[in-house]
Symmetry: C2
Amino acid sequence: MFAPRRIQHCRACGASTAYRVPADDNRERAICGTCGEIHYENPINVVGTVPVWGDQVLLCRRAIEPRHGLWTLPAGFMELGETTAEGALRETDEEAGARVELEGLFTMLNVVRAGQVHLFYRARMLDTRLDPGPETLEAQLFRENEIPWDQIAFRTVRQTLEHYFADRRSGAFGVHVGDVA
Amino acid sequence: MFAPRRIQHCRACGASTAYRVPADDNRERAICGTCGEIHYENPINVVGTVPVWGDQVLLCRRAIEPRHGLWTLPAGFMELGETTAEGALRETDEEAGARVELEGLFTMLNVVRAGQVHLFYRARMLDTRLDPGPETLEAQLFRENEIPWDQIAFRTVRQTLEHYFADRRSGAFGVHVGDVA
């Protein structure tokens, strides 16, 4: 999660850090006063899918905070050791238990306030068996006119769904890049 | 940079951490033995541009390691507080001193081994004035047949240049998503 200026101790030696601008840099970093280790903090990626079965899209109702009880597309933090696509597939499995085949990157949405970039892939569901994990209360397929627009958990999910239905009407899926204020 | 399992002390209290799987998680994280803080490690984004002037592309010769002396597209680590596009513009200014207008996301290339995702935007140069920063030995415009292919610093840069010239020949620029082994 986004936690700027939260590093108070050095990960290498445990001594106190202070935020100052290192030599040859132009912004403040947490620098260890004892061993000199510089701690960089960077945005992280959230990866997920738009799972599609015919004219229906799969949403998951969140069993965890934030936004407990609201609906989302399956997505979560990208991990070391995986690609964006592998992470999107993993989250789709973990949160919905859905088997899907990726069909291409669909949205890349910056959430600067949260220090995140959200990446959603279009995905074709291979069947309708679902097995929601512990982070999901229920997973359900929705036609466009059934989407619970007033109970969507995140703006990047709302924007991704809006792009999906607009592109589907137009008959061509693009890659949509944007920012969420 | 990619530095898994390098967290030996807690950023919050400085006590020793140990790698184990937290409750409700499925992979090892550095957890503080004293205050319980969990330290997540995630891939980070490298953002840059393909700056274009007519039939020429701008490359920068690196003044820093890794790959000192080799040629790259302007790019660097995405920072907190900026979007991918803002980061790409910032790096283009810092490394080449070039004024450009972004024309859209062009490549998204996973470098799993390095724990990185590389994002390049196509960019139209507004003029040919350059002012390379301290990380750049020189910046220079190249036609396709002048590109120093045997002196390119990174595979993601090579792939991005290859996609650029291929798309230019085909007359249509897409968004290219891929992985670098």
